[in-house]
Symmetry: C2
Subunit: 336 residues, 2 copies
Amino acid sequence: MRTTPAKCSKPNFKIHHRPIISAAIAKEQQIVGENEIQKSGFNFKKYMTEKANSVNKALDEAISIRDPPTIHEAMRYSLLAGGKRVRPILCIAACELVGGNESIAMPAACAVEMIHTMSLIHDDLPCMDNDDFRRGKPTNHKVYGEDVAVLAGDSLLAFAFEYISGFTVGTSPARVLAAIGELAKSIGTEGLVAGQVVDMVSTGVKDIGLDRLEFIHIHKTAALLEASVVLGAILGGGNETQVEKLRKFARCIGLLFQVVDDILDVTKSSEELGKTAGKDLAVDKMTYPKLLGLEKSRQFAEELLAEAKQQLEEFQSLMAVAPLVALAEYIAHRQN
Amino acid sequence: MRTTPAKCSKPNFKIHHRPIISAAIAKEQQIVGENEIQKSGFNFKKYMTEKANSVNKALDEAISIRDPPTIHEAMRYSLLAGGKRVRPILCIAACELVGGNESIAMPAACAVEMIHTMSLIHDDLPCMDNDDFRRGKPTNHKVYGEDVAVLAGDSLLAFAFEYISGFTVGTSPARVLAAIGELAKSIGTEGLVAGQVVDMVSTGVKDIGLDRLEFIHIHKTAALLEASVVLGAILGGGNETQVEKLRKFARCIGLLFQVVDDILDVTKSSEELGKTAGKDLAVDKMTYPKLLGLEKSRQFAEELLAEAKQQLEEFQSLMAVAPLVALAEYIAHRQN
């Protein structure tokens, strides 16, 4: 059984043994770092607030209350329940990095958030993770019933494709089509669904090992984060090299996202997280802290962050790259 | 409350009062009829068998058993459970009618069948229609559990878009994109989901009226049949007039499909239908025979068939139009 975690930049990221980057080398490779970003005058908090506001406005307009009302209310209930909009902002930031703009990326940005929301609604169902609360509010099925919750997820899933295909402007149909293919792949049995399926059968199983833990997280969390970034890069006009660099960046922060989530789950209270903390431990789910210990998990998170930043080297302009660097830093060091 | 059924060829098909065509006029308007088709030497049974075999082969190849195995098995269990493949064959026939060929339409044909299967899996769930049998076999959740059934539906939904975007060849990206938009629209709150939602809240409600009954069927059944035909027409290179004529044809046969389904439900046994006959009556669901009486329902079905055929007038070649005429006849006069 493998005991060293993944290195995202290798092409064989998903399946083989990969050497861990030592913290020292990672530090040395920190080409584009927090200090440089700060010196450049980039205001991360302002950036996040402005982008999240744009995304929220677009999401609000994308799905209005119309006939039949209940299903639209249920879709909006979960879609507009707050959240940091990390995925849509990653999509917009990647689009801007390769020369695109916010309006080109916005339908795709909304689409990835719709898919994310769909996966939360369905994963929370009694027949799956059976969660009563999400982002501090009762879960969709607790408010609207299981039947409507299933259908709200289905229609969010379908609407994501309707929205991206019908509303994306400023790029070629071929690029929109490529983006749709990437998004679809991130949902099914090579993405979210695969992660949830293996997660479910692994609950309660002792010693699942690092391979399976990474399979779960690469599919359940990293796949959609990867799609978010790659969609932005494709629609923004990125060339193949740029898209693949950004894909590797996204895989690193995708895994990083989950490692940090696992760490927070054992170090924070429910109130701070807005969900049931320690639940993964309680239901005997495998987590990084359980498998590697808390300290080694934190070290792994720093290594993933360094490796993510390394992928951004080739993008010369410091201001254009600043949002993605800051987002990676944020994902690594967030407190909830 | 409206008591006369819909006329599909009007642009306002979905919402307003529409005069019924009398059976006599309908007969007169039967420009392209069964007799002519028979004279032309078109062999419907052979056509359906050959096309269904092609579709089954393509579906079998589209989703193979790979890791994680259970979810792929669950998807294949329902997708390859037989069925007449009416939707994919409509897609191929429409594509061929406007000058395309089977290979252009096949990924879209598979996609509509994946969406149809997804909707059956989710509608059969205990929290929805709670059906134990489908096409004579235990429903997906009875075999794989509710959690896997929800996820199998989700991944079929997503894979439909992955497949159509990644595998369609012989047409422009702009046409594939338009087809994706049409397909997505037929699933969500303007299609399948809307129909299922209104169907659920209408169960047990007395006197829902013709307007609501038609809303349910136009969304739950006709929308995906419409998409099947329209996707074929778009991908086959149809011009706007052709696509809209075929859309109206599809709306008529979509409603026709459900009227005949309702009639069969009261006139056939469970064994013949492969599902629980009379169930709609048992759970107090509104049906055409209940609302109009059996004889008037049959008359309505004939009128819809005539109206469907009328839409095919402009397509001159008898051989090219023969499959769609025969499919409409089949939908009207099928015995299961």
